[in-house]
Symmetry: C2
Amino acid sequence: MKPSFEELKEKLKQRNIHLSYQRLRVLEYLVQNRCHPTVEQIFSDLQKSISTLSKTTVYNILKILVEAGVVKVITIENYETRYDIEVEDHGHFKCESCGTIYDFNINFDLLNSADLKNFKISDKNVYFKGICPRCLSNINETVKGD
Amino acid sequence: MKPSFEELKEKLKQRNIHLSYQRLRVLEYLVQNRCHPTVEQIFSDLQKSISTLSKTTVYNILKILVEAGVVKVITIENYETRYDIEVEDHGHFKCESCGTIYDFNINFDLLNSADLKNFKISDKNVYFKGICPRCLSNINETVKGD
DNA sequence: TTATAAATGTGTAATGATTACAAATTTGTA
DNA sequence: TACAAATTTGTAATCATTACACATTTATAA
């Protein structure tokens, strides 16, 4: 379900992708930070402990991990690319107030359309936008407070 | 269902958005070109007949039309923003071979998740990727021909 | 019609994410 | 240990988008 760091390393080995220090640290970061981080977040956080890290390296590694099928690009806004460990299908909800992206379960098998009967589908994506419970309650608090 | 140019003009009037020449031409272009064009496509096509047109103007107008709710931003790839006349909910299929984006019907009411019961959902998006029938048959032709 | 303020459009410069590329470093192998 | 290949790094280039100031058009009223 949620692949462990060890399982992901194994998958990369099988694909003959060398497990360099930087690659492992980026992978580890994504396993530990399941908040769909941007390149900027990944880079600035990792740079604290890998002082020589280059942002280009982060871009390169993410590209390799995506091609290897262990990381998925999350495209919700065109001005920010986010990355997620590749897991079973799920939807994303982006809160338009705080920007947080939440995962939610959804049955992708139900996502079918007769219009696509002659199409070869290789990737299904679902994302919603709106306001998350936390922000909704903050808004209510504010109203009450006024 | 598919709003006409006249209906869209009416909607803009109701929202007190001045129907300038450039705005009407961009709107007309989107009604007539239901291929989810990029800013570049809209600009370069319209510039042929509106020689003074500025790309900044196209950006400005698209922003206004989106805010007015008559145009929707289609985010599938983070490197290209596409625009579509706002219509009833439908999914998008992007062919990874030719780049064409197809509309398909899908029941958005079925798109629910218990995980989101306390969330306020204002926008639902579905997009698939894969190979379209045309490209699939081209590939088959090529294989046969070899 | 004419004056004038507000709205709209235009062109250039700035921004910022991403990519290209070449040099430096590290790794694997003989 | 030596060398070739892979990986990382830093800088420069690219490209979509935005900021901004100026030009043009439109709406309104005298």
